[in-house]
Amino acid sequence: MTVPDTAPEVAGLAPELAGAKEGQGSKPLASASERFTAYDVEAFEVPGGREENWRFTPLRRLRGLHDGAAFDGTAQIAVSSGEGVTVETVGRDDARIGEGGVPADRVAAAAWSTFREATVVTLDGTPAPVTITVTGPGHGATAAAHLQLRTTPHAEATVVVEQRGSGALADNLEVVLADGSRLNLVVTEEWADDAVHAGAQHLSIGRDAVLRATSASLGGDLVRITQTVKYRGPGGDAELAGLGFADAGQHLEQRLLVDHAVPDCTSNVIYKNALQGVAGTPDARTVWIGDVLIRAAAENTRTFELNRNLVLTAHARADSVPNLEIETGEIAGAGHASATGRFDDEQLFYLQSRGIPEDVARRLVVRGFFGEILARITVPELRARLEDAIEAELAVTGS
């Protein structure tokens, strides 16, 4: 790739040499830095479900995205145009494709090996907020897609990627921030109930570039998003925030790796999930894996990651695995926190004992819980829509 690699990548090595198979044991890789990456789907073994990076995912519900999906459908990608926004449809031979990163699991590699054309959106100057709509291939169909967002130096932009519809989608989203640019990115998972989305986001931060990313996972049967952040120069600043609302039977999985390999960069991660299950249906599930790696060269790194899960009912399960690996003593600050709490009867009783009706009490707690994430969404209509969507989720079983 054209991007100067500041860290040793193991891409291209035969899998047996590079940890793809070692990492598929029941124990985690010794270090996230050894993570195997490749563009070619066949470089990855078909996961069986016991591998570290697949052990939480219900493979049976993946619609074969990891093994043998026909990829017979197409996901529509529509981009709102405007000044400073260039939209191109390119082939995989375009030199820019891959600048953001390399797939690190078989589904992402399958998407990469399969997509026919990629959408590249270039943001220059200070364009008005851009909305990109991704629509699933439709019930029963599977699709692969590829989207790249890139900024020019010192551009300042807001992009909202709204994802909806039915069917199964495997895709890669590359975000390539040029030096000194700033991107406010919101990605929503507003899928229909049947939808499956396995998405890999490759977030590449240029020198002094700023990424403010917020994700909202609400819909879908199974949504699994992996985010990898890499810095190409000092002064990069990435903030990844997210919220998820898992209801009965839903599986929402968020895995991220922030790879600090250059000095003077900042990362801040905050993810919150609420879970609401129903008796007699599969559990509402969330999985959050947060790997932050500070390599030896990454002096003066500042990083913090936080995951909180609010279990609203029985029949719900949240897994949370924060992991901070530090290979240098010269850091400015590093920490992580993870907590899973129940919204319990005592809290409900306390609020009701002050006159607050039960449904209002639940809303109060959930709204308060998500408040700091929603506050980051600076597009007012979008924030209002997500707030409404969350209230609607609550109303489903909110007795």
């Binding site: 609010l310 306390y350 004992s353 607050i356």
Partner: protein, 257 residues
């Protein structure tokens, strides 16, 4: 003029070996303008009485009635009881992470008053009530009770009392865990509440020291799940001197918490 009337109240909790009866026939009538103190040894069922009146789901009413001005309280949901004019200051207030005190107070006031208070006057009202109780304004932005010290929680219970202005307040050991200054501040808060309206107070306590600040009209001794003796303020003094031994049929008197 209102009346809170408890008659023949029996309450059980689910325990390992089946239901366990804790209240065994409580009779108690409180009228507005009156303050009743309830004193009794640990485990005698005082909090159970308080929770049963408020409607905590853990407590099952097996017999008896509770009425507020003739209305059947037991048929109401927890929030309906609060809106009907009952308030329970809890012995162990619950932490509600993520919900700010400010948001909570406003939601509660909106529910109890039937309409959202006007923002401008509301902010002043809350600030005034907080300063009356020596509560730092920063608490408004903190999550409800989360990480509050025992004394801070109790002050906030009285803050809610002063803002929600119920007809009847049950104060469950609001005095325990308070230092001397806090006890005075909290007592003054309760006394303002009493002075402001035609209200009744049911004050559960182990200690007579709060009764120096909040003078009760009636003192009840609670033991074995019911009221075993009723008298005036002098009964509290006797309890302070002699403990509960006289009321607990031979069982050794327990000191307060």
């Amino acid at each position: 003029m209102s009346t809170l009337e408890i008659t023949g109240l029996h309450v059980s909790v689910a325990a390992d070996g089946g239901a366990k009866e804790i209240l065994k026939g409580v009779d108690l009538t409180v009228r507005s303008g009156e303050t009743h103190a309830i004193m009794g040894p640990n485990g005698s069922g005082k909090s159970t009485l308080a929770y049963a009146i408020a409607g905590h789901p853990k407590y099952e009413i097996t017999a008896g009635n509770v009425t507020l001005d003739g209305q059947d309280i037991l048929a109401m949901t927890v929030d309906e009881r609060a809106r009907a004019g009952l308030f329970l200051a809890m012995q162990y207030p619950v932490e509600v992470p993520g919900v700010s005190m400010a948001n909570f107070l406003r939601s509660a006031a909106t529910a109890v008053r039937g309409e959202a208070p006007k923002l401008r006057t509301w902010v002043k009202e809350v600030k005034g009530a907080m300063s009356d109780l020596d509560i730092d304004p920063d608490f408004a932005e903190r999550s409800v009770n989360e990480g509050f010290s025992g004394g801070e929680k109790k002050r906030h219970e009285v803050l809610q009392l002063s803002l929600l202005k119920p007809k009847f307040a049950v104060l469950d050991e609001t005095d325990s865990g308070l230092d001397v200054d806090a006890l005075r501040v909290v007592s003054e808060g309760v006394n303002r509440f009493r002075a402001d309206g035609d209200v009744g107070v049911l004050l559960i306590t182990h200690y007579t020291r709060i009764l120096q600040h909040i003078r009760p009209d009636v003192v009840h001794v609670f033991a074995g799940g019911k009221v075993v003796s009723t008298g005036g303020a002098e009964l509290a003094d006797e309890l302070e001197r002699n403990g509960y031994a006289r009321f607990t049929t031979g069982a050794p008197a327990e000191a307060g918490v």
